[in-house]
Symmetry: C4
């Protein structure tokens, strides 16, 4: 299991970099994953741009978005997005928050994203719109308070994604590969929808087509094929996360949080036990 | 002849990668070629993203889109697109199915692509539109049943390409180089047409100009020049298919299907004979 | 202190290259910084495209935009933009003038850039518009006369940036990193605003949101994170400025202007004293 | 002088590659230069995509667009564009014909390109529009007959560039560097003009501004600075022409045409003399 977690950390770093390379993430945005054996816990990087994240940057958090090990590094301000969605959605295993250029016009104009091609069905029939100002008035638009995270999770409901006014989007998935595919296809869908509207009338998929195509898109043969492709594209840029488990840039807290570290298993387990007792 | 087929497999892999590098293909889409000496057979990759295909991935299929050798790898779900078009169009030697971003707005808005510049004449005077829902109702939009493939081929008729509602396009050619040129120029044409419409009124080529320019575009001196250029662009990215005939990633079935393999000629020929007896 | 100035020159060269790599600068545009210990002086490159600037190209200028050391190289024609803003704005430590493609449509159509996403708040609630023709009639549109620079500075007022008709924009910051972030986010904001307008109605941030988000965006944890990210992106292209302090391409005047040079400190100090006596 | 011509061939190859790298040329388009000492002759590549041209590909042509040395390689079909303009315009030293994506919408919609930013003034106050069909009826849209080239040259008149219906543009310059700058800035101008029109009302430069800014743009300090920048960008892609004067890809005719070849000066001079006697 310790080995699995080490690999998972690598996969999460890889997902962050794939999404950066495909234009979904940039200096901002983040990808998390629910802990594989402890559903009350999730894995998320320390505060860094997603395109430079390494396996050693991935830390563990409770669903209240508190770090399992007291951190010595800076954390993302918006991690309640992840914790609150994992609390509300037991079926969700992976979450991505982003400000992709393709979706921003929709977040600004308040126009719904609708499925306009078969792969766009990955986003479902409707992408709900959450206006932070409606409930919380003027803010800096970051989702930092637990009540803001819970409000966003309510707006998401049982859907695959939610748009956030003048800010970006949050996407969920049943696994990391579905999340990555869905995030990328939703951006392509948004781009095609905007240009189709400029060209003429937008014809959407029917409800039946959306369901059938959406089911297909989530199948492993599809998500594995796209994962291979996007990984190759990233590899060609020299952007794969380093495989070596020990990095000079690795922060102390991340080191402590590693269950795979031969020197800290007891403490690590102890922390998790403590958390569970709360 | 065995040598030629080995080179043809390389050329098909190269065509897949050229079209990926020029933005026509991405994680999806595929390019096939009719068998050079057996017109009742065509060559198509196993299921992989086109940008990573190697010569060893190219398998043989009957025009019913059944693999000539029982496969041990996954096949493209939509290969009936290729088989049905080769059945209906004896003049066609190469087929490409894609979801290029440039044509998607036209597939969504239902606006016809018309020739707006001399190289765009490669697509012909009219690109017909096929709406899968009209005949088959709600589907996942993939073309997987023989009757769907035949319907698409009927919509294509004698034309150079056909648009597919909310899905993409299928393009045909008399040889691989014409197919690649036509696919790329049709995307450029679509991009220019959309932006010209935003700017003002779209002036199309006359029927006479389309015929004259279309004839010119198909001449070998044009398609060879563009092939050299796109190959060089691909080479600069390090994306050429590997030349070595033995690859670690090569699946078993592909290996069996190789007529150039010194160890399997008898079996390979035997399989083809069997198919012909059906 | 001499060491600091050497490093500052490197940082200014780096800022020029980061902004080129992110599409804000191209063959033209420039970034300056106020002298760290002499507020009556600023640092700016000799006339070169910003993407190729090295530390040795950075020269010192008085706020009248006269070179501190008589130059043997060509100087930017528009350096009064920098000098006049440093005169009018004691709070400003860094200035960037650019013709970024993202802002050009706004400079041509005279449409105001307004904050449409949280990071776009970095540009403030309003970006004023300066029309050079109003005050100076027909010119070649370059800002070369002191009175033109002063007019531009007046139009800028206490804002973060100013648009210049049919020309480009000038952005200011309290430090180099804030300037770089603000310049890039303002371009993203302009791009999103244009596409949101094509899609539907543009919803801007409220005044309260703009203030809160703008404050957040200027915090070091944000500007340091983006600086790391953009530097990494530049490094991957091989585009970082050379670290070696002696370059063959280094012009003579730049060499003389170096306070870190062990051979010219007396003369360098003398020149600055002379300037102060004026 | 022989040395100069050898360097000129390199500069022409470089110009072709710079313009390809900046998105003006692609698989098609060509750049020529008037012979430096024989104004009745011009230099142009054999038929190749401009991004792969080497110095050894550059051949000599009379102003009737006949090759000075009988060619053993394929020639551009449209070289009368160059010859006819050199005949009509003694002030022109360099010509570029291209199908840049940025200008295509204007060639299709018939909307005039007007100067909308200071660097765009390089194209002059007006870019005339030439409709080949008006005079020649249905063609394949290539300019191949001398009368077509002369008609195009008449439409160009004394201007800097001319748009060609559903085809592209032809740009002229007083030297190679001005030509390259003008071609690139005209594309930027077209892009900004289109997006400004989508955003609101397009404000053009006044006649006075166009003249003043146009004069500035043609000054060597501007064209040299941009030349350095674009060359660096090309160098970073590994795309500079090979410096070695002997290339395996060099065609025989090009070899014969070299005045710098120690073995063929007599014949080369003889050919030119013969031509002059006609």
């Amino acid at each position: 299991m310790a080995e699995d977690l080490s690999d998972l950390r690598y996969q999460i770093a890889l997902a962050n970099r794939l999404l950066t390379n495909e234009g979904v993430l940039d200096a901002f945005g983040h990808v998390s994953m629910r802990h594989p054996t402890d559903p009350g816990c999730y894995l998320l990087s320390r505060s860094r741009s997603p395109g430079v994240i390494e396996a050693g940057d991935i830390l563990e958090f409770t669903l209240d978005s508190e770090p399992v090990v007291p951190p010595t590094v800076q954390l993302y301000a918006e991690r309640v997005i992840h914790g609150c969605i994992y609390q509300a959605r037991p079926d969700v295993t992976a979450v991505c928050h982003h400000h992709a250029p393709a979706v921003m016009p929709f977040c600004i104009a308040g126009v719904p994203i609708v499925p306009v091609f078969h792969l766009g069905a990955a986003g479902g029939e409707t992408v709900p719109f959450w206006n932070q100002n409606d409930e919380f008035g003027d803010t800096n638009l970051l989702v930092v308070k637990p009540e803001e995270g819970r409000s966003l999770a309510r707006a998401l409901g049982s859907r695959a994604a939610v748009l956030m006014n003048n800010h970006g989007a949050t996407v969920v998935g049943r696994d990391l590969r579905e999340l990555v595919s869905r995030s990328i296809f939703m951006c392509q869908n948004a781009d095609y929808q905007l240009r189709a509207q400029l060209l003429g009338k937008v014809a959407t998929l029917t409800a039946g087509e959306t369901k059938l195509a959406g089911t297909l898109n989530a199948m492993p043969n599809v998500t594995n094929r796209t994962w291979e492709y996007w990984t190759l594209r990233l590899a060609r840029t020299g952007g794969l996360p380093p495989r070596a488990s020990v990095s000079k840039a690795r922060p102390q807290a991340a080191s402590k949080a590693r269950t795979s570290s031969p020197r800290t298993p007891t403490r690590d387990q102890g922390v998790r036990k403590n958390r569970r007792r709360r």
